[in-house]
């Protein structure tokens, strides 16, 4: 059966997107995860990866068109397979989208999957928005009893406590917003697994010896993903040392300059830049293991592990890192980190990484052997930058040094290629040409 | 006699601020002091040390090393006279910001003064939270002072009330400039002291100017002390540049207070030979001739002459005192220069409430 490609919901308040470019035309073949279409919203520009391998059977939305989230964009299947007609609401959504966006008025239009008319939900209060996100609730299903039919907190709570029908309304997975945290199986983009209702996490409580700390959804996902990665990949770690003098000097010279533009120039930006350059030079590292072969990735999307304390961690993805200047990287690094800690990332912003950097040095760690984020093939661990006595020529000098560890999947990378990759990162950092 | 009971007969200050001392005729008669058992050389040394520290603060300011200085120069005789009438360590003082010599006499060290001038950690008045010279010294019973003028007078009355309620044999002395006596707080505080016959001595260090305003812009009476009659307490005018005269008047006032006979208002007539503060330019409001005239009556010169005529101060003794003061100044400046600044996380944040006080 053919697979549907839907316009994704790219953020909490993003309700529509514009198809800017089809990367595959009707009749062309495509592999699962390969970019299929470029879309643009008022918040992000992104590529939608193909949900399945096969042939592009039908494109429903042409370039330049703006459609609502949840609109059918294309069908992927086997050549000759019969495709369905676009659902009627998709057409109406296209037409509705010609009107000025209601999103700008602060009122959130509802998108329903059945043929019921679109309902204006009115003002969504902060607590209602929070509850809806926590419970993955489609507010269009909630009856509003507040002023002018507004959905109140009580309405949401009453809705949550209602007896559950065994067959939940058939809400397609692609219409359910993601949770925004990484280390969720990439498959979750594609439907079935997302149908699981996740119970509301426990309130933050002080940790007392003897107590049972219930798993949060994030904790479960981290656990699941880590185990799966360890079971899947053949982890090997290689360690090199880099002299950070050039980076420190460069940062010292440019920090204030960046600061004036409101950009915080962190060391992380340099590691991202050096990694991006190395990934371009060593395409085998920017790849995914598959049964038939190693799939080289075109874009360089670098995930940055951000700790959320005891709660867990989240890995926002800095896209197309190899195309970006240090200035742009620095700006995006701090923006992503800030919004990660504020829990403000959109689901799309934590997906699609092709390589990951974890800066465990912030906690004082010198080097570590991190676990690869599947389905990537390597992860760079950055230790603490420390002044150390090193031999330069025949003299002992004090230099800011850092240990860089590369944990790679030995199924597709060998020691020599991994070391070559890591050596490129070291050389880039030591040269200091950014 | 260096003092005079105020009865409104003194010469009026002229509008330009030139004040002829009400009691200059008798203020500097040296022989009277001969019989005293006061530690005269020690008093001279304190006055000298105060002067040299004060001078150095001006220099540091002009060198750009410190942000602000407010001077007590010219007030040394008044202040040392006050101190040597008090039971130091026993009696209480509620001072104001020109009282450097008084503070030194009560035990403030030169280094502590300089720490304040530099705004460095360990300054005992306020931990460098306040501007320099806003004195306070718990170990010497010197209460913390603020910048809004005359707020300290009701405090002195309250301390006097507490002394009386507890039956202690203490006296509280409070000092203030003549300009600040225009404030209602001064009236209310002294009225309390008089109504309840409290052991309070209020010393007005009348240095003729409140920044730029001469005395006749502050009051229509020739002497601040004339207003004592309105409170129902004695008012005394004394030559504030004559340390022994001040000491004598203060001794009578302090003794009277200690006997439970109530408060006294003492007006010490002196002069501020320097601008109001390091930021002030006094040329806009007074002539150089006037300042020069007063410098001839510099309290240090007067006391030196007195001591020399008494045969107490030899040239060698004076040189030794100068050398000692210079050494103390150097040590204080170097100590303050090397001291650390306060830390916002420590001195900045608190203590705002007693609960936050952590004694070392």
């Amino acid at each position: 059966m053919a697979t549907r490609v839907m316009m994704p919901q790219l953020g909490e308040s993003v309700v529509e997107g514009t198809v800017t470019k089809w990367l595959r035309a009707e009749g062309e073949g495509i592999r699962e995860f390969e970019p299929l279409v470029e879309i643009n919203t008022d918040k992000v520009d992104t590529e939608v990866p193909s949900p399945a391998s096969g042939t592009v059977l039908k494109v429903y939305v042409s370039e330049g068109q703006t459609v609502r989230a949840g609109t059918l964009l294309a069908m992927i299947g086997q050549p000759g397979e019969v495709v369905i007609d676009p659902a009627p609401e998709a057409t109406s959504a296209v037409q509705a989208a010609v009107e000025p966006s209601q999103a700008h008025t602060g009122r959130v239009p509802a998108q329903t999957t059945d043929a019921t008319p679109v309902r204006d939900l009115g003002f969504i209060s902060p607590v209602v928005a929070k509850l809806a996100a926590e419970h993955k609730l489609d507010l269009a299903q909630v009856r509003g009893t507040g002023a002018g039919g507004r959905i109140t907190k009580k309405d949401v709570l009453a809705h949550l406590e209602r007896p559950r029908a065994s067959a939940a309304p058939d809400v397609p997975a692609w219409e359910r917003p993601g949770e925004g945290d990484l280390f969720r199986p990439t498959e979750l983009q594609f439907g079935q697994a997302m149908a699981i209702e996740v119970a509301r996490g426990p309130e933050a409580r002080p940790l007392v010896p003897g107590m049972l700390v219930p798993h949060t959804p994030m904790r479960r996902q981290i656990a699941e993903h880590m185990l799966r990665s360890v079971r899947t990949a053949a982890h090997v770690t290689t360690v090199m040392e880099a002299d950070m003098s050039a980076v420190v000097a460069h940062r010292h010279a440019n920090k204030d300059l960046f600061e004036r533009e409101g950009i915080s120039l962190t060391f992380t930006a340099y590691f991202v830049a050096a990694s991006a350059a190395a990934l371009r030079a060593h395409p085998l590292v920017n790849s995914t293991w598959g049964e038939e072969g190693v799939q080289l990735q075109r874009p360089v999307h670098i995930g940055l592990a951000v700790s959320l304390g005891e709660e867990g961690l989240i890995v926002p993805v800095l896209r197309d890192a190899e195309q970006k200047s240090l200035r742009r990287l620095a700006a995006e690094v701090s923006d992503l980190a800030r919004r990660a800690r504020a829990r403000q990332l959109t689901p799309e912003e934590v997906r699609g990484g092709t390589f990951t950097i974890t800066n465990h040095g912030v906690g004082g760690s010198l080097f570590a052997t991190p676990i690869i984020s599947q389905p990537q093939s390597a992860i760079l661990g950055v230790g603490a930058i420390q002044k150390r006595a090193v031999v330069v020529g025949d003299a002992i000098a004090i230099r800011p040094m850092v240990y860089l560890s590369l944990t790679f999947d030995h199924r597709l990378l060998d020691g020599a290629s991994a070391d070559a990759f890591l050596a490129t990162i070291v050389a880039t950092l030591e040269k200091g040409a950014f | 006699m260096g003092e005079r009971r105020s009865a409104g007969r003194a010469q009026r200050p002229r509008a330009n601020g030139k004040v002829k001392m009400a009691s200059t005729a008798t203020a500097t008669a040296p022989a009277k002091a001969a019989a005293t058992d006061l530690p005269l050389l020690e008093m001279f040394s304190v006055m000298l040390l105060a002067r040299r520290l004060d001078e150095r603060a001006w220099v540091l300011h002009r060198q750009g090393k410190i942000a602000f200085h407010i001077s007590g120069m010219g007030h040394e005789a008044t202040q040392v006279g006050i101190a040597y009438a008090m039971r130091r360590g026993e009696d209480w003082l509620v001072p104001y910001y020109r009282d450097l010599a008084l503070m030194l006499a009560l035990g403030l060290t030169p280094l502590e003064f300089m720490l304040g001038v530099y705004g460095k950690r360990g300054e005992p008045s306020s931990g460098a939270r306040q501007m320099p010279s806003h004195f306070g010294l718990r170990r010497a019973n010197v209460v913390s002072t603020s910048a809004p003028v005359a707020t300290q007078i009701p405090h002195a009355a309250g301390i006097g009330l507490a002394i009386k309620l507890k039956g202690d044999e203490r006296v509280v002395v409070t000092t203030i400039g003549e300009g600040s006596t225009s404030q209602g707080e001064w009236y209310e505080g002294l009225n309390w002291a008089a109504v309840h016959k409290l052991p309070v001595v209020c010393v007005v260090e009348n240095n003729v100017y409140a920044i730029s305003e001469p005395q006749d812009r502050q009051m229509a009476v020739p002497n601040v002390a004339d207003r004592a009659a309105a409170f129902g307490m004695p008012g005394v005018v004394v030559d504030g540049n004559d340390v022994l005269a001040v000491q004598r008047v203060m001794q009578q006032a302090v003794d009277r207070a200690r006997r439970g006979e109530g408060p006294t208002l003492v007006e010490a007539k002196t002069y501020r030979p320097v601008p109001h503060s390091s930021d002030d330019d006094d040329r806009s409001y007074r002539s150089r001739e006037e300042v020069e005239q007063w410098k001839k009556r510099d309290p240090l010169l007067l006391f030196r002459a007195t001591l020399q005529s008494m045969g107490v101060l030899s040239e060698a003794a004076e040189q030794a005192a100068e050398a000692k003061a210079a050494a103390k100044v150097e040590e204080a400046v170097h100590g303050a220069d090397a001291a650390p600044y306060p830390d916002p996380a420590v001195e900045g944040l608190g203590p705002v409430y007693v609960e936050e006080i952590h004694h070392a």
């Binding site: 607590v127 | 405090h155 301390i159 009330l161 707080e185 705002v352």
Partner: protein
């Protein structure tokens, strides 16, 4: 458990503290033989004598300033300002001196001082015998600002204030001096300065009030309970430092907040509660934070219809609750 009025509980607290600690004394206008114009100190002059209950000159700044001096010397003065409206001359002493003393001396000098001041309207006192001035002082680090609403709290908080080593402003809802009666326990009965008190549990909206308005809030909550609105009522009791935890916890539960005070609206204490909620409970809010306060005019006018128009009352509060509940 004996029942007594607010003013009796306040008098009892001072009586107990005068007996307990010889450093404690009372100073103010007419507090001696007259026993205070509200008779809060009645009988204390006869019992403790003129050294413990001191008639001051008619001059508010020095009531506080002299109190500060005595506190610096180690005594524990209770200063009475006859009406809160007359506290302004003492503002400099309270804000520049008492509040800053600990900080400005690095903790070397402290001011254990209580300033009692009857406040509030609804007693035909006009512009200068009706004011609510808590907002001026609840802005000043170094002060503690307390407003009790029940006899038990009035006694317990005043005793805590006398024992507190910091300056405490103790505003008493004078309309309730004899209007409010309640039980007072026979134990020590100390009530700590700081915590607010949830006096009625509810789930639909939170009502924040203090002093006389706390009683009106309870009455209003009762009125609307018949309409199915379950209001939580919080008696703030200590305005400064604010009990953020209790304030935020209540709104986390209810999602809606109404703040009631008789002080005028703009820049009033309710603004701080609203700001705390916007800051710390934003994602728990299900409605705008609302304030029901006196109008932005200089003070409570005298003539009865004008005064009634100025003052919040249970019916006005109930109406505001209905609107908020229906939001």
């Amino acid at each position: 458990m004996p029942e007594m009025t607010m003013v009796e509980a306040i008098r009892l607290a001072m009586d107990e503290e005068l007996a307990r600690d010889e450093r404690v004394f009372i100073v103010g206008e007419d507090v001696g033989r007259r026993g205070g114009v509200f008779r809060a100190t009645q009988g204390l002059f006869a019992k403790y004598g003129e050294k413990r209950v001191i008639d001051s000159p008619l001059a508010e700044l020095s009531i506080v300033g002299v109190g500060i001096g005595a506190a610096l010397y180690g005594l524990r003065p209770i200063c009475e300002i006859q009406f809160a409206d007359f506290i302004h001359p003492a503002f400099n002493q309270i804000v520049s001196e008492a509040a800053k003393m600990c900080y400005r001396s690095g903790g070397e000098w402290t001011v254990p001082l209580v300033i009692r001041a009857p406040y509030g309207g609804g007693i035909g006192g006009g512009l200068y015998h009706s004011q609510s001035l808590e907002a001026f002082f609840a802005h000043v680090p170094g002060l503690k600002v307390v407003i009790p609403s029940t006899p038990q709290d009035a006694r317990g908080l005043l005793k805590s204030a006398v024992r507190d080593p910091n300056p405490v402003l103790f505003f008493e809802p004078k309309k309730g001096y004899r209007l409010i009666r309640g039980p007072v326990t026979e134990d020590e009965g100390l009530v700590p300065i700081g915590p607010a008190h949830v006096t009625r549990e509810g789930s639909d909206l939170s009502l924040f009030a203090y002093g006389m308005m706390h009683h009106y809030a309870l009455q209003a909550a009762e009125i609307v309970s018949g309409e199915g609105i379950r209001a939580e009522v919080v008696d703030l009791r200590t305005l400064y430092p604010p009990d953020r935890a209790t304030i935020v916890a209540s709104v986390r539960k209810t999602g809606k907040a109404l703040i009631v005070h008789e002080d005028n609206l703009t820049g009033g204490y309710g603004a701080e509660i609203a700001a705390i909620l916007a800051d710390e409970a934003f994602t728990d809010l299900d409605a705008p934070v609302r304030r029901l306060c006196g109008p932005d005019i200089p003070a409570v006018p005298f003539s009865h219809p004008l005064q009634d128009w100025f003052m919040p009352n249970p019916n006005k509060i109930a109406q505001a609750m209905r609107e908020l509940a229906a939001y």
